[in-house]
Assembly symmetry: C2
Amino acid sequence: MDISVLHNSILFKGFDDTEISELMKALNAAEKKYNKGAMIFSSGEITDKLCFVTAGSVTVESNDMWGNRTILNLVGKGQFFAESYALLPDVPMLVDVCAAEDCTVVFLSMKSLADLNDTIRARLLANLLTITTRKNLHLSSRSFHTAPRQVRGRIMAYLNTISVQKHSREFDIPFDRQQLADYLNVERSVLSNELSKMQRDGLIRCRKNHFEII
Amino acid sequence: MDISVLHNSILFKGFDDTEISELMKALNAAEKKYNKGAMIFSSGEITDKLCFVTAGSVTVESNDMWGNRTILNLVGKGQFFAESYALLPDVPMLVDVCAAEDCTVVFLSMKSLADLNDTIRARLLANLLTITTRKNLHLSSRSFHTAPRQVRGRIMAYLNTISVQKHSREFDIPFDRQQLADYLNVERSVLSNELSKMQRDGLIRCRKNHFEII
DNA sequence: GAAAGTATGTTGTAATTACAACATTTCAGG
DNA sequence: CCTGAAATGTTGTAATTACAACATACTTTC
């Protein structure tokens, strides 16, 4: 198991190596590998597992019965997912989680939180609060990216956010075209088309997932 | 100050009256009234205040420079808002918060959390975790409501959620037409039009904010 | 209960998007 | 360096939406 990624995670911030090892045991840490495209959770499932990506990435998405996909979030190496469902173990998942590429996930049982001593649990809860709070901001930012009614507006909203995050007008995005389309809630072909127009209009330059705002 | 609403809130779950009074002091509880339409927070502001609605309701929204509004969430009596920004006090708000109707808000300083004794703080953090986690699910559900590409799909997705929540095919929604349009990210006139068509098609019946799914 | 103001419904047209079908490019194995 | 598979780009048409303008209904206030 890849310890270093977990040791640097928000969840274990402030814990030393010994404590982390004990916690991993107490929380029944289990690692599992998935191939690209594999489904990790399906809508309707119930889980108490806090999930941590130690390699690769997964998408949190909603798939309707006509095969339309909406990507709510892309969770990369070093990030958590399913924390809301893990902490509210009665609530069935509203989303699917899929491997966006070959990946490795560590599962931590939140049911076992109750067995921990108060001090440890309190520190862990404080860290969990940071995780959920940041996830809130992430979900909010998607709302801004999909708020503009037109495709160009959505693309610009998204690219702006990334540009600010990376402190640069030039950057890579974590999505391929289909994923970006599903994230922005537009047709892939319309997205491709609009990106071409934006390049012709001199707004951006892009090649694959590398973008430059002009 | 309306004590009873606060006493029944998630935040103070498990605390007795004396403890709550002390906490209110320790967290510098301050109450403020707003008229409908008043702005409570503006995008870009920084705050450490956890906000609680004791009367009326507020909308969490994003307003772009062309006057387009997107409603992310409607926060009613007994619910919290701004918790993410209160707990991550470096992050400037991405949203505006406005009074959806005349309302009363209680502000609690999260900066003051640090001064509490460990036991109390731990209990409070656990409750805060519930608040943020539920808020996560709320934000997710909006994503499902706006996921369908067409207006009718969005309306049905939204009405279905409310119907399930209220365990009934007949219910009131908390939005007027303009708010529902801004929540579903569609034009108000298109929404009105589609609701009419859906009634003609025998899918629903509605009058003002009272709906029935057939 | 009239008037003014607000909310909701209707309609037409211009603009945009969805969708399908196909062309081109890129990439991984053999 | 081929070949097939996957990803991306292009195009045309039908369907949908945005927007503006106006009609109607409902509320509030005097």
